[in-house]
């Protein structure tokens, strides 16, 4: 098995290099034979990487502890699902998983593009160059098939050291693969952009071809980040979902640039503008996803999530440098194909709102990158290693996020080219008035937090504009078809899924902002309670009923039974637990959360006091936090709606947005047959 795995990786590496050479030569000389040959090499790489993965997963499931990887990432008593998940639980295995995802994407791309055109060979070459790099790492630097017994006198390893108990959670099974599907997926639109430049194709065919692909990848990346946040909230015991940790930041960066890309491609499709910008954005997205992998794996930036230090770092630096150089060369040498076809006509226009959106996303991205890499930057330039904390990130990102939220409300309703004062009044007067009334009402009710007032006001503003778009469009359909209003709204969404799916994504973002804003009103208290004693937090009374020991074969620990009531009315009980895992001896706390739409009550059992008489409980009230998870679901749903082909694309002119914007982003785009 181990030989099969190692050899597969080695041959796969050679074949991916061959595929790069053959497809590049084939594209250059227009040699269909070479191109076809590289296509088959892509399939072969997929087969080989799949075989290697099967060998590793087989070893994990069979408890074959001769494998160093299996011994340090699994143990006998682990549930089968976690044994399988150990495939991506450690450095070497997760690189293999990365390779497998990329090989699968590449095989899918090749399978979907059977026509011989100028683009395909360069797409293949870019994908396989990336694949070659990761297979190089997997085959020569971090092989998952290193054996323990060879030459070391070990004949039997009775049991592995297991998976970190914190990671034994359902979200941890799916969070890494979902995130990887995002990270790796950005390679595909990047490959099409590179191909478009390499083949000197003017226009935006590459954007049409990769539109759905980019949305799917963006959804995976966003979903992966949110799953990680949900896991942190439910497991880590401090009640946070985001800590501006380097590895968290690394996953956010490509998602931000991809968000900017998804918006600004509409400018290129509709108006032929921002061509360079779009190529730059997708290249940044790809490079940042590689950088994120590098930060996670090399140990250069200390993080709670990172794998240990490893020699992978220098390889990543070389690859990033090469990719950056090739991209810059391609863009500079193809500038004549990237000339804009139109000019900006007014600051108050759709174009301008897209430009601002892109600008802010990129600035935010840069600020986060700077803060994340600051320990490295400061060491190189001043010799002193320094770091910055969450307040830095919050100070930049909260106002920037609120400005983006404002654009979410304004952008989709402002006309292309130039918006008239009359259309602005028609579209924004009522939403703005409603937002101001809400903010004033909240202020009168005692809310003094400035960002919270702005945020809630903006949330209402955006919801109102989205709602009025749906309402107006649905009414127009209703006038013709005599359906009821909800059915007309569904019909409206079906006629231009991209636009209305986008609105639903925006609505999801608004709901998430409601949740984020709730954190301005968090309450917390650390209390030491004897059994039967009481404490108060907010409008909750907490009574410690008992502390009981628990024990099973996996762990031993104590459960605190806490009865919760509100103004004397009992609300049930919560059972936070403290566990000591027998294998590895790690203690973990299992928090208890009473979730609600208005607020969560969150209890962490920190342990017993010095004299063993009292239980130390950390109690938190997190207002509105559930809306983050609800918003996430809405966001993913909206993204899925964007993927559905629009019905009757010629009929989507339902009059939304008035005469100035006869119809929104790109039915032109959807009308063309595309393969992706």
């Amino acid at each position: 098995m181990e030989n099969l795995g190692s050899i597969s990786l080695l041959v796969g590496f050679c074949l991916s290099l061959y595929a790069v050479a053959a497809s590049a030569a084939g594209g250059w000389k227009r040699n269909a034979f070479l191109v076809e040959s590289s296509r088959r090499a892509v399939y072969a790489v997929w087969v080989l990487v799949t075989a290697a993965s099967a060998a590793l997963v087989g070893a994990l499931l069979a408890d074959d502890f001769r494998f160093a990887y299996v011994a340090s990432n699994s143990n006998r008593s682990l549930a089968a699902a976690y044994k399988f998940a150990a495939w991506w639980g450690g450095q070497e295995g997760s690189l293999l998983f990365w390779n497998w995802v990329l090989a699968s994407y590449a095989a899918l791309v090749v399978r979907l593009r059977r026509t011989h055109d100028a683009l395909t060979p360069w797409v293949t070459a870019t994908l396989m160059a990336t694949q070659g790099f990761f297979l190089l790492l997997n085959a020569f630097v971090a092989s998952p098939f290193r054996m323990l017994a060879v030459g070391r006198g070990i004949t039997e390893v009775p049991d592995g050291t297991g998976l970190n108990p914190l990671l034994q959670h359902w979200a941890m099974i799916i969070h890494p693969p979902v995130l990887y599907l995002g990270y790796v997926g950005f390679t595909v639109p990047f490959a099409f952009a590179v191909a478009s430049l390499a083949a000197r194709q003017p226009g935006h065919e590459w954007i049409h071809l990769t539109r759905r692909w980019t949305i799917v990848t963006w959804l995976f990346q966003g979903g992966g980040i949110l799953l990680g946040a949900a896991w942190a909230y439910a497991v880590l015991g401090w009640g946070g979902y985001w800590g501006w940790d380097p590895v968290e930041n690394a996953s956010l960066l490509p998602w931000l640039t991809a968000t900017a890309f998804l918006h600004s491609v509409m400018m290129q499709e509709r108006r032929g503008m921002m061509k360079i910008w779009n190529v730059v954005l997708i290249s940044c997205t790809f490079l940042l996803s590689i950088l994120g992998t590098f930060l996670t794996r090399s140990g250069v930036v200390s993080s709670v999530h990172a794998f240990g230090k490893s020699p992978l770092g220098s390889y990543f630096v070389v690859f990033l440098g090469l990719a950056l150089a090739v991209t810059i060369y391609l863009i500079l040498s193809r500038l004549e194909y990237l000339k804009p076809e139109a000019r900006l006509q007014s600051v108050v226009s759709r174009e301008s709102s897209f430009l601002l959106n892109g600008l802010i996303l990129l600035l935010v991205c840069f600020a986060i990158l700077w803060g994340t890499l600051y320990p490295l930057i400061s060491e190189v330039f001043s010799g002193e290693k320094m770091t910055v904390g969450p307040p830095y990130f919050n100070r930049v990102n909260i106002p920037a996020g609120l400005f983006l939220l404002l654009l979410t409300g304004i952008g989709p309703l402002v006309a292309w080219r130039r918006a008239s004062p009359d259309s602005l009044r028609r579209n924004f007067l009522w939403p703005l008035a409603a937002a101001l009334v809400l903010a004033a009402g909240l202020f009168a009710a005692g809310v003094r937090h400035p960002y919270a007032l702005v945020s809630f006001g903006l949330c209402l503003f955006v919801t109102w504009t989205i709602g009025s778009e749906f309402y107006r469009g649905a009414r127009a359909i209703q006038a013709r078809t005599r359906q009821n209003l909800p059915a007309a709204a569904v019909e409206l969404a079906r006629r231009n899924t991209r636009r209305h799916g986008g609105y639903i994504v925006h609505l999801g973002v608004v709901l998430m902002f409601v949740g984020f804003t709730g954190s301005a009103f968090n309450q917390e208290a650390t209390v030491e309670l004897k059994p039967a004693a009481q404490a108060r937090l907010g409008h909750y009374e907490l009574r410690l009923a008992s502390v009981r020991p628990v024990e099973n074969e996996n762990y031993a620990g104590q459960t605190a039974l806490v009865e919760v009531s509100q103004n004397g009315r009992p609300l049930g009980s919560l059972r936070p637990e403290r566990r000591l895992y027998k294998s590895g001896g790690q203690t973990t706390s299992n928090v208890a959360i009473r979730r609600g739409l208005t607020e969560d009550l969150y209890l962490n059992f920190a342990g017993l006091s010095e004299d063993n008489q009292r239980a130390v409980l950390q109690a938190y009230v997190f207002p509105l936090v559930s809306w983050i998870w609800i918003g996430s679901v809405v966001l993913v749903l909206g993204g899925c709606i964007c993927l559905v082909p629009s019905a009757k694309p010629g009929h989507s002119r339902t009059g939304s947005g008035g005469a100035e914007s006869p119809h929104p982003e790109g039915t032109r785009a959807e009308a063309r047959p595309t393969r992706h």
Partner: protein, 142 residues
């Protein structure tokens, strides 16, 4: 061209505002990485600065007292007394022998006042049998 000038002005305002916010946040949270040896050398000049110190938690040194947690960090034979009074619970990985990172300020009494503790239990499995020297130690995944 007027449009471009206006847009450029808007861009400058946005970039400027964000840069100003960033600079403020930066100076407010800028923290120096120091080894325990460097801290000893700095002497009184270390007092009051925001610092980050890493080391191994000395076995048996963790004590919970008066709402705070006291422990000793060790790095290459040098030790540092630390007290943590933060509100966030200590990470589950924080225990005897763990690699810990403490963020905080140096107190005038020579005790490091930590406001944030991060910990990794890198040495967790090293004493176990059957594990060859140099085998990779993996901790938390992505």
């Amino acid at each position: 061209m007027k449009v471009y000038w206006r847009f450029a002005a808007l861009t400058v305002v946005i970039v400027g505002t964000l840069a100003w916010l960033a600079a403020g946040g930066f100076n407010e949270t800028k923290t120096y990485y120091k080894t325990i040896a460097e801290l000893d050398q700095m002497g009184a000049s270390a007092i009051g600065k925001r610092l980050r110190v890493a080391g191994d938690v000395e076995a048996g040194s963790i004590a919970r007292a008066g709402g705070g947690v006291r422990f000793v960090l060790r790095q290459e034979q040098r030790t540092l007394r630390v007290v943590y009074r933060g509100t966030a619970p200590l990470p589950d990985t924080f225990r005897d022998g763990a690699q810990a990172i403490a963020d905080g300020r140096m107190g005038s009494d020579g005790v490091f006042q930590a406001t944030k503790i991060q910990a990794k239990c890198a040495s967790k499995y090293e004493a176990e049998p059957g594990r060859p020297p140099g085998a990779p130690v993996r901790r938390a995944g992505l």
